[in-house]
């Protein structure tokens, strides 16, 4: 209780410093949040693209319908496979005509082969899995050719990995900057109260007792900075949505995690700077 009061008194005594602290925390978390938003949107877009990863097996004209049905049943039981669909020659023609529009007339019945389309479960669409499925399907004697856009799948995956690593690296960098900034603003408060702290130590206050108000100060600043950053990110997201592209916003859990993250950074920052000060004097 005393610590809370002390923390509040400290903020009241140096309101400008406190506001500055909260705003800097907010800005660093804002940068962090913006990146996070970009990251989740890239992820979302990739997921949508990924859903279209499929393996298509073109069938020999001589393929008899029973063995194809048996093969489809087999393939459908692969653990990686979500569903299997049969596309007859007629359906293939119809689809092609629809896609080609004005050139629809070029196609004649019998030009396009029948095929089976294999859709994979999510999480099973990485290049290695896709390739192994394709190879297995290729072993059926009535399968003429298997296509799954090898290069395309690999590129997609590389892009996703780059996005994940970049997101992680930048996220850590931003978090580090936020912790340093919080540490610095708390340090200013610590220095402003250096005399008070030295007297507290002389009369026998424990380090924890001295530290607690600063930790609470850091916590409150972290949470406030986090909430402010949330408002900034939300506004930024609205603007992008309004004038540029459709984006998704953080889920409730993510927002909660972000604010908790702010609080954590605040506490960590103040822990570092107060700890350093207490060791020195």
């Amino acid at each position: 209780m005393r610590s809370v009061r002390e923390a509040l008194t400290a903020s009241r005594r140096a309101p400008l410093l406190s506001i500055l602290g909260v705003v800097t925390i907010a800005f660093s978390l804002f940068a962090f949040g913006l990146f996070g938003l970009v990251a989740i949107n890239i992820r979302k877009a990739l997921e949508q693209v990924e859903e279209r990863v499929e393996v298509r097996a073109f069938l020999d004209d001589s393929a008899d319908i029973e063995s194809v049905a048996a093969a489809m049943k087999d393939i459908g039981e692969f653990p990686e496979v979500a569903r299997v669909e049969y596309v007859s020659k007629e359906q293939a023609l119809e689809r092609a005509r629809k896609e080609m529009g004005e050139f629809a007339d070029v196609f004649e019945a019998g030009v396009l082969p029948a095929s089976i389309e294999v859709y994979l479960r999510s999480g099973m669409r990485d290049p290695t899995t896709v390739k192994s499925i394709a190879d297995r399907i290729r072993t059926y004697h009535f399968v003429d050719d298997v296509r799954y856009g090898e290069e395309w799948v690999e590129k997609l995956y590389r892009l996703r990995n780059i996005a994940t690593v970049a997101g992680l690296a930048l996220g850590i960098a931003f978090a580090a900057v936020a912790i340093i900034i919080i540490g610095a603003t708390i340090r200013m408060t610590v220095l402003a109260r250096a005399k008070e702290i030295s007297i507290m130590r002389l009369v026998g206050a424990t380090d924890m007792f001295i530290r607690l108000p600063f930790l609470i100060d850091g916590l409150v600043k972290g949470v406030m900075g986090g909430l402010l950053a949330l408002v900034f990110v939300w506004v930024a997201n609205r603007v992008v949505n309004e004038y540029f592209i459709q984006t998704i916003f953080f889920s409730r859990e993510m927002i909660f995690l972000g604010v908790v993250g702010g609080a954590f950074m605040g506490v960590l920052g103040s822990l570092v700077s107060v700890g350093r000060h207490l060791r020195r004097v």
Binding site: R2, K195, E196, S198, I199, M200, R201, L202, V203, G204, A205, T206, D207, F209, I210
Partner: protein, 246 residues
């Protein structure tokens, strides 16, 4: 109660601050710590309130040993010590009363007892009427009295004073010194670092003299002469003269 055994202290930059220091202080004793500036007086006091640890030897204060003391033990020890400095170390933005109360509040003393203790301590130093004054409204002597009241608030068994009269004029010096004597008379030990040789001469208290980090004289050990040698006395005076003229 207080025992230093073969204590040495080196600082990485300034070199040896203390070497081979051994002495004991008994309960209720009054001890002067004298010597020219830089002789190690302040370092000894710092070791006593365990703001620093010796590189060698042991400082033992009321059951707490410098070799084993934890942070918590040191905090507890300091609650039983009174510490006073030349520059008073009062918080400028608080009244005399709040400054004294501060020492109780930050050690988690029960609220109910604080008010009575504070007013008793201020009365003891003769400042009951100035409880609501801020440090800047008080004279140097009065500020030092507030600092002493703060140091007395936890009923210390020893008062450690580092040049407590160093910033005061003669009249204030006499007043503060008399206050320290009264405190000592009521049973609290006093260890006072000073280079005010008049004070040392006028009173008949035990005197420990330091020079270049070594203990050169302890009146408790040399009963024949209760005064530092003339040689070192001259050195001390010369040092303090130089400082006054500077």
């Amino acid at each position: 109660m207080i025992r230093l055994t073969d204590v040495a202290k080196d600082y990485p930059r300034s070199g040896t601050a203390l070497a081979q220091i051994s002495f004991e202080v008994k309960k209720g004793e009054f001890v002067f710590l004298t010597g020219p500036s830089g002789s190690g007086k302040t370092t000894i006091l710092k070791l006593l309130y365990m703001d620093d640890k010796p590189n060698q030897g042991e400082v033992w204060v009321n059951g707490v040993s410098s070799t084993t003391a934890s942070g918590r033990e040191i905090s507890r020890l300091r609650r039983r010590l009174g510490i006073v400095f030349q520059d008073f170390r009062l918080l400028e933005d608080r009244t005399a009363e709040a400054n004294v109360r501060f020492a109780l509040e930050v050690t988690g003393a029960p609220k109910a007892t604080i008010r009575a203790k504070v007013s008793r301590a201020l009365t003891q130093v003769g400042l009951a009427s100035k409880a609501t004054s801020y440090p800047r409204e008080l004279s140097g002597g009065e500020q030092q009295r507030v600092a002493i009241a703060r140091s007395l608030i936890n009923d210390p068994f020893v008062l450690i004073a580092d040049e407590p009269t160093g910033n005061l004029d003669e009249r204030a010096t006499r007043g503060v010194f008399q206050l320290l004597r009264d405190i000592n008379a009521s049973g609290t030990a006093v260890i006072m670092a000073t280079h005010d040789l008049d004070l040392v001469r006028r009173s008949n208290y035990r005197t420990i003299e330091l020079n270049h980090g070594r203990l050169v004289f302890d009146s408790a050990e040399s009963p024949l002469s209760a005064r530092p040698s003339d040689e070192t006395m001259a050195e001390i005076e010369a040092a303090s003269d130089t400082r006054e003229n500077a």
